[in-house]
């Protein structure tokens, strides 16, 4: 009898909630609903759809690996993958390096610091629709400032976003312009944690500006740099809004990604397949390939960080 009682007590104990425990569970319930319905359930559903034909009118029909094998032979998918990688490879280093240079310039007692910072924030707080019309002032092939400048310099005007070879570089330039203010502030926070006496020690040893940057600044902010790189790679890989807005036509999703798919990226392809052509299964397969690639890239970046990221002991 005693034994039974003891067992019963240990058995019931975790389920007996204190008053505080009840409040705790109640107060986190919004997140619990979020997690169960909108994360856990959706992940399983999306995995299931990726092995199905699903047009949203009829129930999903299991087709095994068919979506994935079709993707392997889909030339537009490969083009979208290539463009996504190309965009990321151009964008991430360019934005990171330029943001670091700007942050280093701002990291001292300058007059009008706040105004300088705000000038760099206006693109950050603008929607891509605003950016579209603002960028048009520069890159409009007929009357944009860029071509006006080229003509004045005696060079050939360009088609910019309508040119197969220029469209991604131009999109990258605009993306850097829009995002650099945000990255600059992240770097500024990192730079302000670098102890002043390290620079003084470097001064005593007669180090120049570039040497100090190379041997003091870079190693000490490598943790921040690492985060910036991981975060911007993940976001860039999933970029949709910019391509949709800047290469589309009046918000027609099937028109975006041109010219001739030269700015088609994975997220846009996923959207076209899913929401324009109602191939939800196929779109889910693209989503999972994207997810797996992001996972691998993050893993590689984490592995590589041991080689160059310097954490203070």
């Amino acid at each position: 009898m005693r034994l039974g009682k003891a067992r019963e007590r240990t058995h019931t104990k975790p389920f007996k909630l204190s008053n505080e425990g009840k409040w705790g569970i109640l107060m986190i319930s919004p997140y619990l609903i979020h997690f169960i319905v909108f994360i856990l359930f959706t992940m399983f559903a999306s995995l299931y759809f990726s092995f199905s034909h699903y047009d949203m009118l009829n129930a999903p029909q299991w087709v095994g690996l068919e979506n994935y094998t079709k993707l392997v032979n889909d030339t537009v998918f490969w083009k979208a993958l290539g463009n996504t990688v190309y965009f990321t490879v151009l964008f991430v280093p360019a934005q990171t390096i330029l943001a670091l240079i700007l942050a280093s310039a701002l990291n001292q007692q300058l007059r009008g610091l706040k105004l300088y910072r705000m000038a760099h924030f206006i693109p950050v707080i603008s929607s891509w629709t605003v950016v579209l019309y603002v960028a048009d002032a520069i890159f409009n092939p007929r009357f944009g400032l860029a071509n006006d400048l080229l003509l004045k310099l005696g060079m050939q005007p360009q088609q910019w976003l309508n040119d197969e070879h220029l469209v991604i570089p131009v999109l990258v330039v605009v993306a850097v312009w829009k995002g650099i203010g945000y990255m600059m502030v992240i770097f500024l926070a990192g730079l302000q944690n670098v102890p002043e006496d390290l620079y003084e020690a470097a001064d005593i040893e007669g180090a120049g500006v570039l040497q100090k940057f190379r041997h003091v600044t870079i190693p000490l902010i490598s943790g921040t740099t690492f985060l910036v790189l991981v975060l911007s790679t993940i976001t860039t890989f999933q970029a949709f809004e910019q391509i949709y807005v800047m290469t589309g036509n009046s918000g027609d999703i099937t028109a975006a990604g041109g010219p001739d798919n030269s700015s088609m990226v994975l997220m846009l392809y996923l959207f076209q397949q899913g929401f324009a052509f109602l191939k939800m299964g196929y779109a889910s397969a693209i989503a999972w390939i994207l997810f797996i690639m992001l996972f691998i890239i993050t893993l590689i970046q984490v592995k590589l960080q041991n080689k160059w990221v310097h954490y203070e002991k």
């Binding site: 008053n19 505080e20 425990g21 009840k22 409040w23 705790g24 569970i25 107060m27 986190i28 919004p30 997690f35 909108f38 359930f41 992940m43 559903a45 999306s46 701002l106 990291n107 007692q109 706040k114 105004l115 300088y116 000038a119 760099h120 924030f121 206006i122 707080i125 603008s126 929607s127 629709t129 605003v130 579209l132 019309y133 603002v134 960028a135 048009d136 002032a137 520069i138 009357f143 400032l145 006006d148 312009w177 502030v185 992240i186 990192g190 302000q192 002043e196 985060l227 975060l231 999933q238 949709f240 809004e241 918000g251 999703i253 996923l270 959207f271 899913g274 929401f275 939800m280 999972w288």
Partner: protein, 275 residues
């Protein structure tokens, strides 16, 4: 902050001044374009300064398009999102920071984990959930998830609650406050800076959002500003100066909110790189 060094300062001023000019030139050019007639707008060679200024372009956007309706929709989505984010994130964060309940550690690890999952795998099933709930072509899917505590906000608010000394809690307990009352009456008012940070970030995200409206909205009277202005381009073909004016007007509310909360924007942005 580094010690003053003349050469370094001059170079820095040059770099950031040049950069600031590059940041603002497109806006200034677009603003000037928005004040031109179409023939001034398309003139070659480019005429920088409109002559005369067509101020009525801005008025005509209001009179001749659904701009006001789009603006109202955007306002509804943004205000409901901000309210939802402030309430749900702070409540969940308070429980994680100050209350003791079963599986707290593992549940918090779960929040951390969900931050790593890219949204891409959830888009399609979420759409199907909202479709089955009958919310297609309504504004509901655009703000509802903000009422279910997004991880960024939970983190931000949890840090704030953790920093408050224990004595406040004990005093509240002596006064007979329930945990919820303690959170609502005592702790929440002490976290105004973080609430401001969360406000500006949610406002910015929702005001500018394009992906969700594109997925969920099909009738034009439901459109929010970013996709509403995009959709105007068909009707205004050959009159693009109106589109520039409309786009620039959508920037005004977020610019005003930003000017008042710039400090909190910087804080939020810099903390997002320092986890």
């Amino acid at each position: 902050m580094k010690k003053p060094n003349k050469k370094r300062k001059i170079v820095s001023y040059l770099v950031i001044t040049l950069s600031a000019i590059l940041m603002l030139t497109p806006f200034v050019t677009a603003a000037l374009n928005s004040l031109k007639s179409y023939s001034q707008y398309t003139a070659i060679p480019v005429e920088w300064i409109p002559n005369p200024f067509h101020w009525k372009n801005y008025l005509e956007v209001w009179q001749m398009t659904d701009f006001a309706q789009y603006g109202l929709n955007s306002m509804i989505v943004t205000v409901l999102s901000v309210a939802g984010a402030l309430l749900s994130c702070s409540m969940v964060a308070y429980a994680f920071a100050r209350l003791d309940f079963p599986f707290k550690q593992s549940l918090f690890l779960m929040v951390l984990g969900t931050l790593m999952i890219p949204p891409v795998v959830m888009i399609i099933p979420q759409f199907i959930i909202f479709k089955n709930m009958g919310f297609l072509d309504t504004l509901v899917p655009l703000w509802l998830l903000e009422w279910l505590a997004q991880p960024f906000g939970i983190f931000l608010m949890r840090q704030a609650f953790l920093a408050i000394p224990k004595e406040y809690e004990e005093a509240a307990k002596l006064d007979g406050c329930s945990p919820f009352q303690t959170y609502w009456r005592i702790f929440l008012p002490m976290c105004k800076p973080q609430l401001a940070t969360l406000t500006i970030f949610t406002f910015m995200t929702k005001w500018n959002e394009i992906m969700a409206p594109v997925i969920y909205l099909s009738s034009e009277e439901k459109f929010t500003l970013p996709i509403g202005v995009l959709s105007m381009s068909g009707a205004w073909f050959g009159q693009e100066q109106y589109l520039v004016a409309a786009a620039l007007m959508t920037l005004v509310p977020i610019l005003i909110v930003f000017l008042f909360t710039e400090k909190f924007f910087v804080k939020g942005a810099s903390s997002s790189g320092l986890k």
